[in-house]
């Protein structure tokens, strides 16, 4: 009995490792390819560029991973980002602390609203967050009177947008830190376990005394928090904010999460996957930039990559199931 168990055990773990690595393999191979295609791809400076460019997306992708594992989705992050950024910048006269507090406060509020409507009221997340995104954008416009706001704060603020410590971009350190913390929490914490349970089967979760609406609600608040953090990086990177009505951010973030192999059906996924997805996305986007591929086709390629990724992922999952 146990002998069989062990063998299955080993087989499973091997399989799991293999499948989780394949995404990594794709990433590495694409990196290899790029180094041949573009001489200055594998330069430190460019790698740092990649990180800088995906930083904002990456931070939001952390929250999105939580939401998606809870079987939700949040399309309001663009609007939320604008709102947090605007409010943050408005606070700048009271110092960096105020900016921090302001942005996080607003982000949390937005998250609470989404979470209430999706978790408590149980309305469909797609429509709800599309609706709230309009509200957030509207608020941002009203609050900023449509002006772009310029970052005039002391250096500390613009510091972690573009600058380096010991030659390493501050954003890189920030991203790694955030992914580590959020990742460990997602894999070990009690809340996370419950989140997975709800994502897999809400009724069973309820029967196990899990307050599913609260769990879902929290996941949206988490998203709000990370969007707020993203807005700080965003503003400190651009030194100026204005409300972008139509930014591709939402779809990019979702693409990143899905690229990693987290599925929208809920209950499955991890931040390790999301991180791989993030880097992969960054590499592809950066590569297209370096190879001066016309903007028109960049979108097309993104789309194709996305589809290939999910198709492959589905295929591999089938394999896993059939095994």
């Amino acid at each position: 009995m146990t002998g069989v168990a062990d063998r299955n055990q080993i087989r499973k773990t091997v399989r799991v490792i293999f499948f989780s690595q394949t995404m990594l393999i794709i990433l590495l191979s694409s990196v290899l390819l790029m180094t041949f295609l573009s001489p200055n791809f594998l330069t430190l400076r460019n790698l740092f560029n990649i990180v800088r460019q995906v930083a904002v997306l990456g931070i939001m992708a952390i929250g999105m991973t939580y939401v998606i594992i809870g079987k939700g989705i949040d399309l309001s992050i663009s609007g939320m980002l604008s709102l947090c950024a605007i409010v943050g910048m408005k606070m700048q006269n009271y110092g960096f602390g105020a900016v921090l507090v302001g942005a996080i406060f607003v982000g949390t509020l937005c998250g609470l609203l989404n979470g209430y409507l999706v978790g408590k009221v149980k309305a469909n997340p797609i429509i709800v967050t599309l609706g709230t995104s309009l509200v957030f954008v509207s608020l941002a416009l009203i609050y900023s009177k449509g002006r772009s706001i310029i970052n005039r704060t002391e250096r500390i603020y613009s510091f972690f947008g573009n600058e380096n410590v010991l030659g390493i971009p501050v954003v890189l350190l920030l991203i790694i830190a955030l992914f580590l913390v959020a990742g460990i929490y997602l894999s070990r914490s009690i809340y996370a376990r419950r989140l997975y349970a709800v994502g897999l089967n809400e009724r069973a979760a309820l029967a196990s005394g899990i307050d599913s609406s609260k769990i879902v609600w929290i996941s949206y608040v988490v998203q709000g928090l990370f969007v707020a953090l993203a807005s700080l990086v965003y503003t400190s990177r651009l030194n100026t904010v204005r409300v972008n009505i139509i930014t591709p951010y939402v779809f990019d973030v979702i693409t990143i999460v899905v690229l990693g192999g987290t599925t929208l059906s809920g209950g499955y996924g991890s931040l390790y996957k999301t991180f791989i997805g993030l880097i992969l996305f960054g590499v592809i986007q950066n590569a297209m930039g370096l190879m001066a591929i016309p903007y028109e086709f960049q979108q097309m390629i993104k789309g194709i990559v996305l589809i290939c990724a999910v198709v492959y992922d589905e295929f591999s999952r089938k394999r896993r199931m059939s095994e």
């Binding site: 349970a197 089967n201 309820l206 029967a207 307050d211």
Partner: protein
């Protein structure tokens, strides 16, 4: 006899990862014959019929239908041949009308458009043939579970079928309706239509079947005409050993201390004025007809549905239970009757399923889950309840029904609750597992846990419970004590009649 034969399955084998589901199973069915297919969970019954109805493909073996060898690659092939299957889980579309469901996928057409008139008329015809009082135009969403079951049957009959396969058709309908079902089966039997009937309820089998085929571990252990068998034989065949009386009588007493008290619980249109108390170490049975409101009461007590009014006292203190989390906090656990969707999380490993109730207890200093503790916990549970699984990381979805149920119970045990709600804990479970679970429940009671046991099987109530609450139309009609718990008393209060005795006299 041979020319009578309509279906022959020869040396059917089917292999699933890790398990040989069927080994050279052969089955022969005559026109108008009712073949009962019995066996423990995981014995291969479902696999066999899924092969017959084209859901699975066989690894080896052949199927001969009306003397011709046939390949059944897809459910449609089966239906095309005239083999229709009624599965346990309803396959009706809630949003469509009864008529549409009956004719789903083959709606009658008149010059290129669906002929609603004809569809409704003919489906109404089928329904009234079976004496089912449902409007064909009604939306299935509005029907009760039992009514939906009937529509299912009507649907299956509406095909010009030669074989109807019924997988646990009576699992969730009342005896009255079971009676009706049997009438129908006899009717179609006369039309020379054959029936393959799967059930755990041996009594039913002896009422309806001509032949009984027993499967164990994917092999045929016996296939005899009903006359040459009695229930005990069948059970013996099923579990391969002789077990005496399933229900050993209770030889222990429960303490006086009142664990739990419900006062005047009400929920609109479900139940009202429900009051009872549960003592320490007591098994309190809830008997009654299906749909009498027992499950609803339990769900409300556990906080899954909200109470409109009424109070709950635990250890004498008033407890407010607004959601299941509160219930757990008050030491109440709940095993739902809906195993597939509620008792366990299919996508979770056994470990995660078992530990889900006491994550807080497994917390490390950092507030994370202590994986090692968790694993040992699971291993212990698997050993104690002898759950058959390849490892603690086995996904729940890969377990057989009985083992899933054990896992669900294990989940609650490991939480060591003070009060445990068990809703139909042995529903659709083979005799062996049933016995194990029964003894488990008794041990629990011994250890001082108060147990609310909902069961539709009178022997279970009689054999297990200190007291039995009888529910009818959402109200408690009687609470029976010890020796007073007899089929007669239970049924009397369950159906409110004085003729029960009279009919008994007639028999004697």
């Amino acid at each position: 006899m041979e020319d009578q034969s309509i279906l022959q399955m020869r040396n059917i084998s089917k292999h699933f990862p890790g398990v040989q589901a069927l080994k050279n199973v052969s089955l022969s069915l005559n026109k108008g014959e009712v073949l009962a297919l019995v066996g423990e969970n995981g014995a291969g019954k479902s696999t066999l019929i899924k092969i017959l109805s084209g859901v699975y493909k066989t690894d080896s073996g052949e199927i001969v239908f009306e003397g011709k060898g046939t390949e059944i690659q897809h459910p449609l092939d089966a239906i095309g041949l005239g083999i229709s299957t009624i599965y346990q889980e309803t396959s009706l579309v809630q949003e469509l009308s009864v008529g549409e469901n009956i004719f789903l996928g083959r709606q009658p057409m008149k010059h290129g458009r669906i002929d609603w008139k004809r569809m409704n008329q003919s489906s109404q015809g089928i329904l009234s043939d079976l004496g089912i009082k449902i409007k064909a135009s009604q939306s299935v969403g509005d029907l009760s579970v039992a009514q939906q079951q009937f529509v299912e049957i009507a649907k299956a009959l509406s095909f010009n079928t030669k074989i109807i396969v019924m997988d646990e058709p009576t699992a969730s309908i009342t005896d009255e309706e079971t009676e009706k079902l049997f009438e129908i089966i006899r009717k179609i039997q006369q039309k020379n239509t054959s029936v393959i009937y799967i059930s755990h309820r041996l009594k039913e089998i002896f009422q309806i079947a001509n032949t009984v085929m027993v499967l164990r571990d994917g092999e045929v252990v016996s296939c005899n005409s009903i006359e040459d068998l009695n229930e005990l034989d069948v059970i013996r065949y099923m579990i391969g050993r002789d077990i005496g009386n399933i229900f050993s009588d209770k030889s222990y007493e429960c303490e006086e201390h009142i664990l739990f008290e419900a006062r005047k619980l009400c929920r609109r249109k479900k139940f009202n004025n429900i009051s009872f108390e549960l003592r320490k170490g007591e098994i309190l049975g809830f008997s009654g007809l299906v749909g009498a409101g027992r499950t609803e009461i339990m769900r409300a007590i556990f906080g899954l549905d909200r109470l409109d009014s009424g109070e709950i006292y635990i250890n004498g203190k008033k407890a407010t239970i607004s959601n299941s989390a509160d219930a757990i906090r008050n030491g109440i656990t709940f095993v739902s009757e809906d195993r597939r969707l509620e008792s366990i999380i299919q996508g979770f490993s056994i470990t995660k399923n078992i530990s889900i109730l006491l994550l807080k207890a497994l917390r490390t200093k950092l507030g994370f889950i202590d994986r090692r503790k968790e694993k040992t916990l699971a291993e212990k549970a698997i050993k104690d309840l002898s759950i058959r699984a390849s490892s603690t990381n086995e996904l729940a979805m890969n377990l057989s029904g009985g083992n899933q149920q054990k896992t669900a119970v294990a989940k609650c045990l490991s939480f060591s609750p003070t009060i445990m709600i068990l809703d139909e804990p042995t529903k659709g479970i083979d005799v062996g597992a049933k016995k194990e679970i029964h003894s488990l429940i008794k041990e629990l009671a011994h250890s001082g846990v108060g147990i609310l046991l909902v069961s539709s099987e009178l022997p279970e109530i009689i054999g297990m419970c200190h007291r039995a609450v009888v529910v009818r139309d959402g109200e408690i009609t009687k609470i029976l004590e010890g020796e007073k718990i007899t089929e007669e008393n239970l049924l009397r209060s369950a159906v409110k009649t004085s003729i029960g005795l009279a009919s008994k006299k007639d028999q004697t």
